[in-house]
Subunit: 138 residues, 3 copies
Amino acid sequence: MAELLSETVEVRTSRRVEVIDITRPVEEFASRVGGSGILVVKVPHTTAAVTVNEAEPGLMEDIAEALLKLAPIDYPWRHNRIDNNAHAHIAASIMGDSRVVPVVNGRLVLGTWQRILLVELDGPRRRRVSLYYMKAGD
Amino acid sequence: MAELLSETVEVRTSRRVEVIDITRPVEEFASRVGGSGILVVKVPHTTAAVTVNEAEPGLMEDIAEALLKLAPIDYPWRHNRIDNNAHAHIAASIMGDSRVVPVVNGRLVLGTWQRILLVELDGPRRRRVSLYYMKAGD
Amino acid sequence: MAELLSETVEVRTSRRVEVIDITRPVEEFASRVGGSGILVVKVPHTTAAVTVNEAEPGLMEDIAEALLKLAPIDYPWRHNRIDNNAHAHIAASIMGDSRVVPVVNGRLVLGTWQRILLVELDGPRRRRVSLYYMKAGD
């Protein structure tokens, strides 16, 4: 019997735009629950995103910079008449609010350099990362 | 026992590039089928995309504008020798043809401001949105 | 009972930046395993990506070109102090390391023009594509 198991991880961000490695708590959840299946790593936010890439500090700043070139902060976006964070919504909508990670025997299936990254685009804030794990039957 | 359940939603778009909130019919499908699992919201098209973000009208136009800056309509793309919509294919390939949404007890797991958005990049057309729901066992 | 089945496909790329149609081996895997469920097509790499779009040769070059406009090779990215491929990591992190494809009765659910594309951003290399198929119970 397949089951859907979930958990929420809290992450405190410290800058307006920032990339944070959140692999550890996701690994811990998968390890605790065990089994095999598909894990959705998702933010319930519209100004943050999730991706998978290398957690090299320089690269994490590069990813943030590239997103701000794609959706500049200082641009007359229509949404800025309401709230001053259109860039964050736009970049998050393109990158995506989730990534899917397979789990085999309680371990995340990631390549050697792959880490799960939370992309803060309108911080600093307290963010939630939601884990939904569709576990295959035993 | 896990099951795969599906449905197709039809959406008529009215402009060449346009972002449309399609959350309602996806919610209705999840509610009708009930249970918990993982829902894939997908377009079978190559010139439209799916994302999750806020359905604020100004922002929806901003997202469209940002995608056209990323992949301008008037640019000598190679694909335009065949069909005049390379921008639409490119933007759709980057944003993605699907998003994954968890379902718990027949309700979509979305954050307060998150809505499911269809991104039309080469309309107006009649579009299909395919819902594939992997439902966990009872 | 739901099961998680997997396979790895090897792809040899021949250029630094290149888009390759990998639909065939994914179709063969789905057909061989049969049944219905959700298939994750994923690379374990951080300088390659996966997407779904049309496999028209001109368009495949356009997608590569658009990604290099988004993340130029010749730009003082911080990661280039370590390794000369920041552009590849950045573009891969935005496009994504995976796509999800539903499977019904052993057939991939793709639209008429949709193909599964491997996006090489730092080749030529030997790449792996990992297939994880969460198959619903019989």
